[in-house]
């Protein structure tokens, strides 16, 4: 007899054996196919709030945007502040406000892609919600995940948030112009990244002062979708 309501129906066991995030993963694959078809490289930028994602983006747009279309999907819980900054830097932007949500998912990415309608061959940045935990779990269909930390945050961040650093294709250490003023051990930080994600490149740069941005542009260039209309230009992305 049913222990809940007293009815005589016997429970039936249904085997599912499916991934919890199967729907998200399927939609992410759809996004990936769509982006590949358009020759678009989508890069998912993840970090804690205040690491300098938007500043790095502004600088990147102004440099590489001269030679290649750049578009941005901005994820924030609230406000259009970052979208306005990106728009002023001179590129197409779609703001996604997640409200109480702490991350972007493949459905939000899909909707934003359709609204933004990025040009074929463009470079698409997805600025995820500032959070070093939740965005790690959700595949958006991007072509690369970049995790950014800044030297004001502490050397041991990769060990404290290992799940995020474990999924990174590139780790950026930002604000190296502040190294003389803070207690941050860059070499130890590199070792901590290697402990959770061996072989992942670490690029130390300053988005405000411009140190070592060539390494970041070089990485973007190396990830760009092959076969995309490449016209002669001076951009490091070409």
């Amino acid at each position: 007899m049913c222990a809940t309501c007293g009815c005589s129906a016997e429970p039936e066991t249904i085997t599912l054996e499916q991934k919890v995030l199967a729907k998200n993963d399927a939609l992410a694959e759809h996004n990936r196919d769509m982006l590949a078809g358009l020759g678009i490289l989508a890069v998912n930028l993840m970090s804690s709030p205040g690491s300098g994602k938007t500043t790095l983006l502004e600088r990147t747009i102004r440099t590489v945007g001269q030679d290649r279309p750049v578009a941005v999907i901005e994820g924030d819980q609230e406000t259009l502040i970052d979208a306005e900054r990106i728009r002023r830097a001179g590129c197409a932007v779609e703001q996604v406000n997640t409200g109480a949500g702490c991350h972007l998912d493949a459905a939000m990415m899909h909707d934003a892609l359709h609204k933004l309608d990025p040009e074929p061959g463009s470079l698409l940045f997805v600025e995820n919600v500032g959070n070093l935990v939740c965005p790690a779990l959700f595949d958006l269909g991007e072509g690369g995940k970049v995790v950014i930390i800044s030297v004001t945050e502490g050397t041991d961040k990769p060990l404290k948030y290992p799940y995020m650093f474990a999924v990174a294709d590139l780790v950026i250490v930002n604000k190296v112009d502040l190294l003389p003023y803070v207690d941050f051990d860059l070499e130890a930080c590199r070792r901590h990244v290697a402990a959770v994600n061996p072989g992942t490149p670490v690029v130390a740069l300053s988005a405000t002062r411009g140190d070592n941005l060539e390494a970041w542009y070089g990485w973007l260039s190396s990830r760009s979708v092959p076969g995309v209309a490449a016209t002669p230009g001076t951009s490091p992305l070409r």
Binding site: C2, T4, C7, A9, E10, P11, E12, T13, I14, T15, L16, E17, Q18, K19, V20, L21, A22, K23, N24, G101, C102, H103, D105, V133, C134, A136, L137, F138, L159, P162, Y163, A166, A194, A195, V196, P198
Partner: protein
């Protein structure tokens, strides 16, 4: 609080599969390397089932330990977190288990 999104995904999937029947219990398989906290998952599951065919359903969580094989010494090592380190000192490990996040089964009436 990504567990709320995950709980919502679970509830969507089971209600769809239950096709109108009521869901009595659900079994999840959660690996130790998934960043999903079982306590948070239970809390969020109870919120997500409200007003659905799975309202009041019991959540069973099957834990899977994190495992890795050391490429240096060949040992199978249990991992409690995603920090890759073998007792032999090597950090060259290949994760073999612990990333599961699956709906195993459910009971419906």
């Amino acid at each position: 609080m990504h567990e709320l999104s995950i709980a919502q995904s679970v509830v969507d999937a089971i209600c769809e599969r239950a096709a109108g029947r009521s869901v009595h219990s659900v079994r999840l398989r959660v690996g130790a390397l998934t960043a999903v906290v079982p306590e948070a998952m239970r809390f969020c599951f109870d919120l997500a089932v409200e007003g659905t065919a799975a309202q009041g359903a019991r959540l069973d969580i099957e834990h899977r330990p994190g495992m890795a094989r050391c490429r240096s010494c060949g040992a199978d090592v249990e991992l409690t977190d995603p920090i890759l380190l073998c007792p032999c000192g090597s950090a060259d490990l290949e994760v073999t288990a612990g990333r599961e996040l699956q709906i195993v089964s459910m009971e419906v009436r």
